[in-house]
Symmetry: C2
Subunit: 286 residues, 2 copies
């Protein structure tokens, strides 16, 4: 079942490339054009058969697109929307895969011409690996995909995007954009910052001849896996969701300082109480 005759994906990396592959595997798209800043990466996508052609020129080849997917780092959306807006055809659906929604929606809707429909989306399928070579048609299967429609969102466009994600195997839900940004500040953006900060702290130890990392066990590796994620992508997410992220970092700093002072004071009772809370909560997640 073809949902979209012509699809243009802007940013053919892990997520954009996986969506292209899933659309092809399920026969949901006629042709898929890919575009982005790095020519080599687009040529790789073409060679791998992930996309059918490279979108050329100022308008990135969106002129005939029935669906445009913004899958580049969220900090690039404003510029891209400015560039493509005049070229979007009437009835075209624009969606995205950004990890931040509130401010991003303002940016995209602010640049959207009448008669073109934006459906904000966030598939929860990121990994520490990036790039089109890692793309998989099964990346979204049984993973959540959150849609955050606004008052302006067209109902039919929303249903079409919902169908698309459901057909890739994702579990689709609808959520308020502000709530989305608070939740993901807590369960995604904060842990990324914490993992990045951990790698920096250990890397900056300057231990001379001793390679501390050689002694790291599975715990450290699991803990820091997400620190290998794309710096550019995460710079954008941190800055765009800073209003929600900074209060979460403060909560985390509070929690860390509390452990620190319980350890300094040798306060076994309170220390064990907080370790127990943490352990119970984590075991409850399985």
């Amino acid at each position: 079942m073809i949902l979209f005759q012509n699809v243009t994906i802007i940013g053919v990396g892990l997520i954009g490339g996986s969506l292209a592959k899933a659309l092809k595997a399920k026969g949901l798209a006629g042709t898929i054009a890919g575009t982005g800043r790095r020519r080599e990466s687009l040529e790789e996508a073409l060679r791998l058969g992930v996309i059918d052609r490279i979108g050329q020129g100022k308008a990135y080849g969106v002129e005939d697109a029935d669906l445009v997917v913004l899958a580049s780092p969220v900090g690039t959306f404003e510029r891209i929307m400015r560039e493509i807006a005049p070229h979007l055809k009437k009835g075209c659906i624009i969606t995205d895969v950004g990890s931040v929604k509130g401010k991003l929606i303002a940016v995209v809707e602010g640049a959207l011409p009448a008669g073109r429909h934006y459906v904000p989306a966030h598939p929860i399928a990121g990994r520490e690996k990036s790039g089109v070579a890692e793309a998989s048609e099964n990346l979204f299967r049984d993973r959540r995909c959150i849609l955050t429609p606004t008052e302006r969102t067209d109902d039919r466009a929303l249903e079409t995007v919902r169908d698309m994600w459901s057909l890739t195997g994702a579990i689709v839900s609808v959520m308020d954009a502000d709530l989305h940004d608070r939740v993901f500040a807590a369960v995604s953006h904060l842990p990324h910052v914490a993992a990045f900060a951990m790698m920096c702290a250990v890397a900056e130890l300057n231990t001379g001849s001793e390679d501390y990392l050689a002694y790291s066990g599975a715990g450290f590796r699991d803990f820091t896996r997400i620190a290998a994620s794309s710096p550019e992508m995460w710079k954008d997410i941190c800055l765009m969701n800073r209003d929600n992220l900074i209060p979460m970092i403060d909560r985390y700093l509070f929690s860390l300082n509390r452990f620190k002072h319980e350890i300094i004071a040798g306060d076994e009772k309170r220390l064990e109480k907080h370790l127990q809370l943490s352990s119970d909560e984590r075991r409850g997640m399985e």
Copy 2:
């Protein structure tokens, strides 16, 4: 090849139980007695065939032991050594599996009668799971095991314990106890505190009807996996290695605060620089 006729393991959990299973599988022990505080757990170990008998009485059945393995939380070693020291037979080897070495060595050596030999050891094979039901004879295979002998350590006892760990499949190395405690404060104890603090921070959000954790992806799950570890065990490790752990927590707080202030200031250049450092270091670990 029998290395020890009679072995007593004090604390038959994940590590103690796995060592018992490995000793049996390789035929390295005549009989294995297990002991500890929780009767049910010892009876489970007996039922599972992990140990041959439960060490009884005040001396935990160490009287005939050729090898005694301290595998209980490190905070219990002082009391246990006081209780068993008078009953250790001449020539007996005492070893341990504690994640802290410096202060622990002082405790054990301080209580050790002449003619009994202590070999401090730390197999790097912990997991967030605990208990004898999780024990596996292969837990140590291809994992590091670090021995931290002191001036008092008997050379032959050291070689015997080294042989034992090598025969379980571990990669054995020798390291200075103080360096061990600095390295593991950085690559193990700090990440555990950071994961515990993360779970507390998110658990204490009090989000009312919204279950934030339902939205957590693979990143959050990997990041917090070690927060499910045993609270009692980690309380002891944090307190016993606090002299090395507190400076590492401070380095981590510094690194987190730096990210926080770069995000608040919108300092894209410095933010991306530190994200890049982190990402490069983590990718370099694979």
